[in-house]
């Protein structure tokens, strides 16, 4: 459990700023390595974007939409068996758009079958494509875009491009014009065995992780916004938080990479060359969501777990982020999601641009949110006729909401574009003892990417700490 900030000591081995899945995992790994760790979170709740909120008896999950099977091994190795054992498959993934309608388990075997039967693609082309994406590494050449990759294997087939791209755009915010590796790595992870979720919901997962951190001896303080990472002569000295200086030779920032450089450490902490690289980082798009809660004792038949829906004629990365996009996913949470909590909830998710939302005054903002809710209801009615009458809660989140709760630059919900990875990975070579973990470069994002990146960063911290001995 978090302790009051007044109980935090003046000195730690490592201070972790932010408790997203990457920050939580770094704290856990570094405590396992034997360090005295302090975890500071600005929000009242742990988890970062892996979060939830309660309304009128409902529990809404914000980012629990499905992750790859790799989470099983990752949770066993870096957290515990109990967490691993709560991972279950989501078997009904639905696509519905003007070009095709299909149900899939979203794995290589079923995708191959569908590509042959629905799309009349030859087995050899499908095999060649899967082999190509499975062999992609993050250090490979980045010059080829996803659009070029698709055109090489499925020229002129906008329906196939949509099937392959749409889910990944929602998973990591990547577009047809991003490097093909940012697509291939994430797509291959999912194709391994399909889509999985955490039984019991985000609140249960984060609660279990907090228990594990407590057992590991990590000091956790919430409602603690770090004002500054103190750097002197290219060396980390600690952090300033709520008027207090806490010293530590290592600081792991799980704040966004741009926040870490410009707002926490400050430009002056780095070389001119490094800042030139950092200035080029593009943050990814943000999201809109509509949360819908069904009345107690009401429910509906199974319509699928995750629905990729659109009424746009073809897939278009820009259309997906448009203020009035016709494309959205529905994540459907049945009572099985949280055994014992017998409620149905639905979360509609859309990609969105912060710029489109920041310009509104309060009245315009309220009206646009209402319109967003109305559009989502119209779309959902296609799958659940009469759903509106069964709801007793509905509300919307926009890029402004994401910005307020996570402090992410422009409310990004998928970190940064590819160039953020190199800056994040090399920050400790600029300032001794300063490390970054968080969604960067599209591939180090999502729940699995964030946890694994937490482990990678911890390895750098451990190597640095041992080299000081």
């Amino acid at each position: 459990m978090p302790v009051p900030f007044s109980q935090a000591d003046d000195q730690y081995d490592v201070i972790v700023i932010g408790s997203g899945l990457g920050g939580l995992t770094s704290a856990k790994r570094l405590a396992y390595c034997g360090y005295k760790v302090l975890l500071l979170e600005f929000h009242s709740q742990l988890g970062g974007l892996a979060t939830w909120f309660k309304r009128k008896g409902h529990i809404f999950d914000v980012s629990l939409h499905g992750f790859p099977y790799g989470m099983v091994k990752t949770c066993r190795k870096y957290w515990n068996r109990e967490i691993m054992n709560s991972i279950v498959q989501l078997k009904n993934i639905i696509f519905d758009n003007p070009q095709f309608h299909l149900k899939t388990t979203f794995d290589r075997q079923d995708f191959t079958a569908k590509l042959i039967s629905h799309f009349k693609i030859s087995q050899s082309t499908i095999d060649a494509f899967f082999t190509r994406v499975a062999g992609m590494n993050f250090y490979d050449d980045q010059s080829m875009t996803t659009r070029e990759l698709f055109n090489e294997y499925f020229p002129g087939r906008s329906d196939v491009h949509r099937l392959l791209m749409e889910p990944i755009s929602y998973a990591n915010g990547s577009t047809l014009d991003d490097p093909a590796i940012t697509y291939g790595i994430v797509f291959s992870n999912f194709m391994n065995k399909g889509v999985f979720t955490f039984e019991g919901g985000t609140d249960k997962l984060i609660g279990m992780m907090a228990d594990e951190l407590e057992k590991s001896g990590v000091t956790i303080c919430t409602n603690c916004k770090v004002d500054r990472i103190v750097v002197d002569k290219r060396k980390v000295r600690g952090v300033e938080c709520r008027g207090k200086m806490i010293s530590a030779p290592s600081v792991v920032s799980n704040s966004g990479i741009t926040n870490t450089i410009y707002n926490l450490a400050g430009k002056d902490a780095f070389s001119k060359e490094f800042i030139e690289k950092a200035d080029k980082i593009r943050v990814n798009n943000s999201s809109c969501q509509v949360y819908m809660g069904v009345k107690k004792d009401e429910g509906f038949d199974d319509i699928g777990d995750l629905l990729f829906t659109s009424t746009a004629p073809e897939f278009d990365s820009a259309e997906l982020c448009d203020l009035h996009t016709r494309s959205k996913t529905f994540s459907v949470y049945y009572p099985k999601t949280r055994p014992g909590h017998d409620r149905y909830t639905i979360v509609a998710s859309m990609n969105a641009n912060y710029q489109d939302w920041e310009k509104f005054n309060e009245e315009q903002y309220r009206l646009e949110k209402e319109a967003l809710i109305a559009r989502s209801l119209v779309d959902l009615e296609r799958y659940l006729p009469g759903i509106k009458e069964k709801l007793d809660w509905i509300e919307a989140a926009t890029p402004r909401t994401f910005n307020r709760y996570t402090l992410h630059t422009r409310g990004t919900s998928f970190g940064t574009k590819f160039e953020g990875l190199d800056v994040s990975r090399s920050i400790f070579k600029e300032v001794d003892g300063l490390f970054h973990v968080g969604s960067v470069g599209i591939i180090m994002s999502g729940w699995l990417g964030a946890i694994n990146y937490g482990v990678i960063a911890s390895n750098d911290v451990d190597a640095f700490m041992r080299s000081r001995e």
Partner: protein, 83 residues
């Protein structure tokens, strides 16, 4: 540490990473990655465990030396001479 001791150490670490790992058919001169279904995160775990247990710092450019069981032993033998 003897060559056999180093071999046991590596296998012990891998067993912690993947309890289902089958060592019976393992060929010491073939890549561990292909035979035991290890990924890049697993190799990072091996590096971290070696640092934790024996204070060994293995630089990133040396990671390829851990590819096979034989190459692990060859690489680690001088480093663990006093262990």
């Amino acid at each position: 540490m003897t060559r056999d001791g180093i071999k046991d150490l590596i296998l012990e670490i891998i067993e912690d990473i993947d309890e289902d790992a089958d060592f019976d058919t393992l060929q010491a001169d073939k890549p561990l990655r292909d035979q035991l279904d290890l990924d890049s995160m697993d190799f990072l775990d091996i590096v971290m465990e070696l640092r934790k247990r024996h204070k060994l710092q293995i630089p990133e450019e040396d990671y390829p030396q851990l590819a096979t069981l034989d190459s692990c032993v060859n690489y680690l033998e001088p480093l663990l001479a006093d262990a």
